[in-house]
């Protein structure tokens, strides 16, 4: 399988790098401090393919901390608030769309 770093990167709008945290699998986002955050609101935004490639390269280097980093689309509104760019990312960011059998 081709590594994400070897794939051609095309982005059509604001994007983030997201992955799952190694020790517990929780959804994480690359932040502006070259670390990871569980909050999409604190994710670093990239807007060009070069920026995305650079952040993906840097993210993939952290194999101990994160699994499977990839670029995901987001929407950024006029106030700078970040929202997931598709349903899959919405579910990753906000959780399942159903009630769990046992309330949290």
């Amino acid at each position: 399988m081709t590594s994400p770093l070897q794939q051609k990167i095309k982005i059509t709008g604001p994007s983030v790098v997201t992955a799952n945290r190694t020790w517990d699998g929780v959804v994480i986002y690359r932040d502006t401090q070259q670390g990871w955050t569980t909050e999409l609101a604190k994710a670093a935004i990239v807007r060009t393919a070069d920026e995305a490639r650079a952040m993906l390269t840097e993210s993939a280097a952290d194999d101990v901390g994160a699994i499977g980093p990839y670029i995901a689309p987001v929407a950024v509104n006029d106030n700078g608030a970040i929202k997931p760019g598709n349903l899959r990312e919405q579910i990753r960011a906000q959780g399942v769309t159903i009630d769990l059998p046992v309330p949290a």
Binding site: W23, D24, D63, V64, I67, R88, I91, V96, I98, L100
Partner: protein
Amino acid sequence: MYAYDEIDRTLINERVSEFRDQVKRRLSGELTEDEFKMLRLMNGVYLQLHAYMFRVAIPYGTLSSAQLRKMAHVARRYDRGYGHFTTRQNIQFNWIKLADLPDALEDLAEVGIHAMQTSGNCTRNVTTDQWAGVAPGEVEDPRIWAELLRQYSTLHPEFSFLPRKFKFAITASDHDRAAIKVHDIGLRIHKNAAGETGFEVLVGGGLGRTPFIGKLIKPFVHGRDILSYVESILRVYNQYGRRDNIYKARIKILVHELGIEKFAAEVEEEWIAMRDTALTLDDEVVEDIRSRFTYPHYKTLSDTPDELKSASADPHFEAWRKNSVAPHKVPGYGIVTLSLKPIGGPPGDATADQMDAIADLAEKYSFGEIRVGHEQNLALPHVAKRDLPALWKALDKIGVATPNVNLVTDIIACPGLDYCSLANTRSIPIAQELTHRFANHDTANLIGRLHINISGCINACGHHHVGHIGILGVEKNGEEYYQITIGGRADEHAVVGTLIGPAVPYAEVADVIEDIVEAYLALRQRPDELFVEAVTRLGVEPFKERVYATR
């Protein structure tokens, strides 16, 4: 129940230690994810959207009360208080932390439960009829042979790196409850003219991207030869199966492309060379396995006890009994299916509290034994009929007595996009909406047996191809759409359903299914003509017209 011997217990415990070390090395960075991934998959650990998912095997769908309690413990201690029973007699925990997995495995190992080969390109959990050993008319208990195959295939060095995953299913009844025709190898136990027990062998069945019904490769293989014969099949597959394209790697593609005659000839050649080797089973080996299965000491009981007669005045009890209690091979007993399909609930989920309560009830009423079926329901296999009223009250109290087994709300659904990293669309909310639409029990009974199966992507974990109504989620321009097939079935008359037309958007799925059901009610010849029989008689056109005429 099968009692593990010292070899089994040692194997399971060693596996826990091995995985503990692998996890430790992964978390320290000694192992990269690339190196670790295959190791975790071989222990049933996937990475899903929000967390790791841990898939635990329930060999041939049989659980003891102690084992079910331990699953409840894992759900409560390491997960979020529930588990999900799958279409292959496994249970999945959706929120488990990698760091906790070795402890969870160790706890499960205390009761002989493991997660070996619940993932990866190896032979997976061998599945069978959830009524095995208790169904009237069964040739013999298929679990004996399932256990034999489990022992043979577990960590088999030659078959641990197959081109793709490999699934066996076995039945010993005329009515197939194990969906053997949609497995890589399907085995039907029967007797030949001489009264000897053997297997009808089917090969190359499967769902997923390219569905195929299994093809008959050998009408009768004697029991003593079954290991050498299936090994011959696996060898031919291992040699010729494609490894260059994951979508063409399953044995069904090889069988299809070679043709069953050529594939069978290859297998025969291999088999002739090896059938009289160490793989030939002597009676002693089979009897040793048979002897490790313990069966209840049934009492001589009335088939029409007074308790049942008085309870039958309660229409709620009668509705449940008629729907959820099946005949048992021993007079005075019944097989009770526990519906994990409450109206509005996620299909196949059970909370830790429910699991504990079911374990207690199994001890009280079913000789401490529970079964798991591929339809994502549980069963208590040995319930005295005189106990049915008391059991029903207890099951109703914990929410597993919905009288909808095999009815329109007994829906099979994969976890879909709410959990699964492969899914394109959600499955569970569609199932939930449909159960609300058909919540009225009288309506559901009027409709009769109707299996709706939902998959959130083409991988078909929800078996949509073989649903009487199949619903497949596809993504179109970022939106959830669903293709509808009708006429599929997974039993001894297994057939892949037919697509009725263009995919419909998420919001219209329940309306479309209602239209299809209404069309069926209007078109059926008599009340006992099942939906799937009406489709066979009429074809898809009348249903298609009903659905698309106004859309």
